[in-house]
Subunit: 876 residues, 2 copies
């Protein structure tokens, strides 16, 4: 079937009928007052392109049969002079898609049918105005004429009749304009303006199909990653015209079944008496609130309330619908799901559940976890309509306003004075950490979403825009440039880490809130979900935040973060730079009590919940300055005639540690094996901390995790030492604690040899950041800066695999590892602690493949809780 | 069973009986004259350690029963004064393992049994000499006394009796020494020297077991990667002593069933009349060639020839055996497979096949492919006994002698003058390529086995030692230091790329040869193998060499190598540095004819055989100088007051291209997608070259291969352009050629999504170098320099996975890809072109899992041909 009359189309089949068409069919079947019409399917659009942009043979015959059907039911006649049938023609794909053809109204008008309209409306001016609009719109949209010539002509005639406003023109003038417009059409397109209604219709249908491959539509699909599976071709909706401008017993309006911004269960909308849809848009007259209809048109209002109820009951979703009243008769012209704010979505879910409109599962499933994440961070006020000056990567969500500073030291200094600041740097390093603490947000001109700045900001829940190439920083002058603007130190900027945008000056922000509604929905989610949700937390403070957000444990505590502390970094650097074993051991020993203290505090905060601690992961050179920086420092010292010996020494060491591909280098368990003292110290600190807090009646559940494991013998090596140290500490403290030993699964080979690893590991925790890098052979930073944008543009990848788990590659590896690991150890506990642990789609996948837990940034714990519940709700 | 008498042991079970014990059992069963004895199994050794280093209860009772058995058969008595039974005690694990306990001879001697010996030998001096040797050896080996005290005492007594030589001492003096030795034993070990023969025996057995975990043995196993599966515990062999020094009707000797150095089928060996084994080793008397026995002891010689024949017929391998004639009676004491040179192994295989001793498959299986690779390169003459001054990585096999030069330009200059040179550099870069061409070999102080120097040298078949940290190069002074030696420019050195060693001065070399024997064996291999063997070749010359070595096609032609040519690199660099699209396109166009010319020549050389051409792979910054180098250059120019603008510009661009992890960066197909012009140009050059040579009646079989593919859409993108270009070129030339389109499988995700890839790829070629890096998350260079040595030492890995394919990880991925790829495309052609393609164990694995071909360096083609045949031979 190429064409479905509204009363025959399947309202569930958006793919075939487009969203608009499906809605019209569905409403027709619900016995709502929908003007008669029909849909030409999206498949015809594909046929159109297959046949070299030609309408399929016989299509117009079918169209004619359908028009005939309408004529029979309405008594109107398409092209008839007495009771003419006019139609609208609209595009409509499976997904809403700006850039396709606009609506053509009043199709069927010509000099003959115009008479019928005048007859019916008794309004010659209205009729001619409709006609001249139709001629212009049709010439432009369906025939490709330029808008300019029409507006020039229009102005000319207005001048001729000394008309100030369009409404000053009378029917005669409008008739003149219409005739001139037809000439323009001929001149511009080389074709006569078609008078024959079916010729008009055929041209309009082709034009809708043409617009599917128009540049704007194609770009839109590319940008929004709309694939053929999601929407392939557009449908064409042809519908009997109804008029809201037929007098004071006519009106037009839009309505929401509930208030879309508050979510309150009140009828919400606007209408204009004696007007057409475009008048509402034009904004010349101010529409009235929908409730006023109750007084003005009580009968119609009652009908409208029925429509509202029917739509919500049927769709189980807030609807956004359009209506027209023609001479007292109500018509519904379109319906779709209402767009809502995050908080209104929560509110409506709760209300609709209380109204027994939704089950708990349905109530949960209609909330977009990504949208509610907004509620957890400050946001730019959408009302502010602020214009950004640059866009970088959305590296850590939330917005912040503050004064620009260019160094961590200044940030700290000003921060202590109570200044609100944004740290702006080319890139950040571990020794900038005190700057992060003092700043409200961080902006960098280099580095991707895994750059130091991005990762640290996310873990602290501070907004960050990274890799914003458009800003050029001059550290010495203490300014940055963007285009031709210069921003000086202490000037105020605003950054939006959710969108990556940068604004000059202060932009109004909306405060985050975990409302009662939010809590209620999360409570339901917790009842349903199977997956445990833990948080990544590296400090006692992180742990506290995470617990407040409902984390059921810590899935990843990165011990190296503890070395970045201002007072600890020098000791750690000394350890790295030491030339003798003794020097190194002495530095390591100094670090032990510091780490122990952190662990004790974390254990106390997490009393009763598991805490997974990962042993040192990054390569040692990450804790030292770069070769380039040292070379620059040495040159500067030289120029100033100062001593360069010490710097040269550091440079020598940094060169020894230099790695071609640090991501694949001397790090993680590889360090644990080549410098066993380091892991020994960490393990000692963990076990001793646990023993000590246990004496304070804290319920400690510690899990020791080894990073970068690719070979079971690596685990064997470390486990042997861990067990020995534990034994020693237990003896010393006369106190035993339970601890688990496990491994990160972040190396491909680890997944492929999971059965061997499970001999030593009691738990697996997928480190999907690194695993994604290894699986794709993509270095995240390099990929996001260099080629991933092009990959997204060409739709070579649908999603950024560092944001949403790649199911075919990384997901398959995970499934192999789960299956094989459980073969060796059926009670193996398996989780994920990569950043995907906070991405809703990825969380759902983790729940589906049977993981025990996800662990994500504390701020994303609520998102993960909801997503985990959705996966369960979905499959039942 | 803990103990097997030689007549009962299973001579095939080396694991249980050790190599020596199994040989003795087997020979006993073959009715060869083996002195009676028995083996204590390796399992007893494990029991010994499980029971805290104690012999299992009842073991000595079993030993006694076995001794009793020997006594019954020989009429001798262990500890008897009349016809005393003396035994030897020897260790023997499943694999030969230096560092374990030496042989103890004459065990059972004490003052009582000594009388019996004197009685039998009528030689008091001999008896006492044997006794004092036994006391010393037993004290040292079995009881842990220090050698020093014994030799001091021995010298003291010699002084006392004014004896110059040991032989000047008479029986009396030797008796005195023996008694003093016993005192030393008591003094050193705190224990009396045991007189009781069974106490001696028990102590000796324990000592053998102790030696299994001795430092030297443990180190040896670690170093040679001998795992418990290969050898677990040592056996103890206890055997009746026989004496070759009982007069002129006695003798001792060693023999090979064939000449081990030439492989000729002649009886080879030496003997000494009236001597013990250790006399042969001591070298005081010159042994006689074995053939002389025919005159001296014709009967025994005849017997010996029988032994020779029996051993070879049985073992189907050249045997290296020991014998003793005691009073005219022949005894065989040990046999093992003979160690042979590569050429003698080839010769014996051919001879033994002709003698119908071996089948063709057996003849092939006994040749070690790694060993015959020696024949393809110059080698250091082992007779030269040269001592190396430093050891780096064995980066490209073969040895070379030449004069040291420190720059590629000088290498070229001197090379043109006919000088024989070795290029010595910290590391090499693409613009050193002309230096490689002129040099005999390359020595670098930095970089691993995949450094530029190593890879280029291998592909050229030139010796290379890389990463030789011990040498310190001073480019300005034109010297390098190693320890305290200084080597100046133009001094002569020798490098051995097979071992990684560096020698000062000229060392005699042996020339490579592909002998007739070698050709014959390869011919057999070709008859048997299923796997096709191709070569990696980047130039017409490489291709020619490969074809001469029997390559059946080119499996990998790296197009980027062509850009490294002196005249091309500047154009390529210009392309990279260009600021506008036009500049870039113009540079690309200049490269096209150059690439085409190369392709045409390669197609001509490979007439009739397939040529797989890989599109550009490395990241662009590899073709430019490093940031560090540019910064140094700029500083130098500044100091000299010269213009730095141009260098600064290059630095700016290099910084833009800079990648954190270039291995995982903007390279391969990612470049092909972001800069499509580049791939277009290469494809154009390939197809046009093919069309042009086809007109010359050359049979072209070209295969276009895309590197670094991880997503099927990448292939889709490139394939579309390839097909379009081909279509265009065909039209232009009015000529069609067949070409195949395929993909490297070098990214993990590629393997995991092979089914999707096979939609577009007609062939897969595993790039196991990169695949290994991705699978392990090991950057080869970083791993080999930083932690892999420790991993090998701790036996965390048995093999370097970059040399021998990792079956559990990489191999599993390959099997997944093969299975899934063939699901989508059953006639998919699959090969491997990583360096593993030339490693025998890896080639066998490739043959086993059903690959169609391997492709390796031209010089390794013969090795791969043989290894491929062995896999087939093995499984039948």
């Amino acid at each position: 079937m190429r064409i479905y009359a509204f009363e025959h189309g399947d309202g569930k089949n958006k793919k075939l009928l487009g969203g608009k068409g499906a809605g019209l069919c569905e409403m027709t079947r619900l016995d709502l007052p929908v003007p008669l019409g029909f849909v030409i399917t999206t498949e015809v659009c594909l046929e159109y392109y297959e046949h070299g942009k030609k309408l399929p043979l016989g299509l117009m015959d079918e169209v004619k049969r359908n028009i005939l059907g309408i004529e029979k039911k309405t008594g109107k006649k398409f092209g008839g002079a007495e009771n003419p049938l006019l139609v609208s023609v609209r595009s409509g794909a499976a997904m809403s898609m700006p850039g396709m053809m606009d609506t053509i109204l009043n199709l069927g008008l010509n000099e003959a049918t115009l008479k019928g309209v005048i007859e019916q409306t008794k309004n010659e001016r209205f009729a001619w105005d409709s006609y001249r609009r139709f001629v212009q719109l049709f010439s432009e949209i369906a025939m490709g004429a330029q808008e300019e010539s029409f507006s020039k002509k229009f102005a000319e005639i207005k001048g001729k009749y000394s008309a100030h406003l369009d409404t000053d023109l009378d029917a005669k003038a409008l008739k003149e304009i219409t005739e001139d417009f037809k000439k323009i059409c001929k001149h511009e397109t080389g074709k006569d303006f078609p008078d024959e209604p079916f010729e008009q219709l055929e041209t309009a249908i082709s034009a809708v199909f043409e617009s599917w491959m128009g540049k704007r539509a194609v770009d839109y699909r590319k940008y929004n990653k709309i694939t053929p599976e999601m929407a392939n071709g557009t449908a064409v909706n042809i519908q009997t015209m109804v008029f809201g401008n037929m007098g004071n017993d006519s009106a037009t309006g839009v309505a929401f079944t509930r208030d879309p911004s508050s979510g309150e269960n009140i009828f919400f909308g606007e209408y204009l008496t004696n007007a057409q849809g475009e008048d509402v848009v034009a904004g010349i007259r101010t529409p009235k609130p929908i409730v006023e209809m109750e007084n003005e048109f009580p009968e119609t209002y009652k009908e409208l309330c029925e429509v509202r109820k029917k739509l919500e009951c049927h769709y189980k979703e807030v609807q956004d619908f359009e209506f027209t009243m023609e001479k007292g008769i109500l018509w519904v012209l379109q319906t779709r799901n209402g767009k809502m704010t995050a908080s209104s979505r929560l509110k409506t879910s709760i209300d609709m559940l209380n109204e027994a409109l939704l089950t708990k599962k349905e109530a949960i499933l209609r909330i977009d976890p990504a949208q509610i994440e907004q509620l957890l961070h400050k946001q730019i006020d959408p009302q502010a309509n602020a214009k950004s000056v640059a866009k970088g990567l959305a590296a850590s969500p939330g917005a912040a306003t503050g004064k620009v500073v260019f160094s961590a030291d200044e940030a700290e200094e000003l921060g202590e004075k109570g200044e609100i600041i944004i740290l702006v740097r080319e890139e950040t390093k571990p020794d900038d950490i005190h700057g992060f603490i003092s700043a409200q947000g961080v902006l960098t001109s280099k580095g991707g979403k895994t750059s130091h700045a991005a990762v640290v900001a996310r873990s602290m829940g501070k907004p960050c825009v990274s890799g914003c190439n458009a800003i050029k920083i001059d550290d010495r002058k203490k300014i940055f440039k963007v285009d031709d603007k210069i921003i000086k130190e202490l000037e105020t900027i605003t950054i939006d880490g959710t969108s990556g945008e940068v604004f000059i000056g202060k932009v109004p922000l909306i405060e985050p809130e975990i409302t009662e509604d939010f809590k209620q929905v999360l409570k339901w989610a917790d009842e349903i979900r199977i997956l445990e949700v833990r948080a990544n937390a590296d400090s006692p403070n992180d742990a506290k935040i995470a617990r407040d957000f409902g984390a059921e444990g810590i899935g990843l505590c990165r011990t190296e973060r503890m070395f970045n502390d201002v007072e600890r970094l020098p000791i750690f650097q000394k350890m790295i730079l030491s030339d003798s074993d003794e020097e190194r051991k002495s530095a390591i020993e100094k670090l032990m009590p510091l780490q122990k203290k952190d662990f004790m505090e974390i254990f106390e905060v997490m009393n009763g919940l598991p805490v997974t601690i990962r042993l040192l992961d990054p390569p040692l050179h990450e804790f030292l300055p770069s070769i380039e920086q040292l070379m620059n420092d040495i040159n500067e010292l030289k120029e100033r005639g100062e001593n360069i010996k010490e710097k040269k020494n550091v440079l020598r060491k940094v060169k020894t540690l230099y790695e071609v591909n640090p991501m694949l280098g001397h790090r993680g368990v590889r360090l644990g094996i080549t410098i066993p003292d380091l892991y020994d110290m960490q393990v000692y600190a963990i076990i001793e901390a646990a023993c000590e807090v246990k004496k304070k009646n804290i319920d400690v559940k510690t899990e020791i995790m080894v990073p970068q494991v690719s070979i079971s013998n690596e685990l064997k090596f470390v486990k042997k030492r861990v067990d020995l140290i534990a034994h020693e500490v237990f003896k010393k403290h006369k106190q035993k604690i339970d601890y688990k030993f496990g491994t990160m699964m972040e190396v491909v080979r680890g997944c492929l040899t999971a059965e061997q690893l499970a001999e030593f590991a009691e738990f697996f925790s997928f480190g999907t950041n690194d695993l994604t890098q290894g699986t794709f052979s993509f270095s995240r930073e390099d990929a996001e800066n260099k080629f991933l944008p092009k990959y997204m543009e060409e739709v070579i990848l649908k999603n950024n695999p560092f944001e949403t788990l790649d199911i075919d590659g990384v997901g398959r590896l995970m499934q192999i590892a789960i299956k094989d690991g459980k073969k060796r150890r059926p009670d193996l506990k398996i989780g994920i602690c990569g950043e995907h642990g906070g991405d809703p789609a990825s969380v759902r996948f983790c729940s589906k493949i049977g993981l025990n837990y996800v662990s994500c940034s504390g701020y994303r714990v609520p998102v993960a809780r909801l997503a985990a519940a959705q996966e369960v709700a979905q499959k039942q």
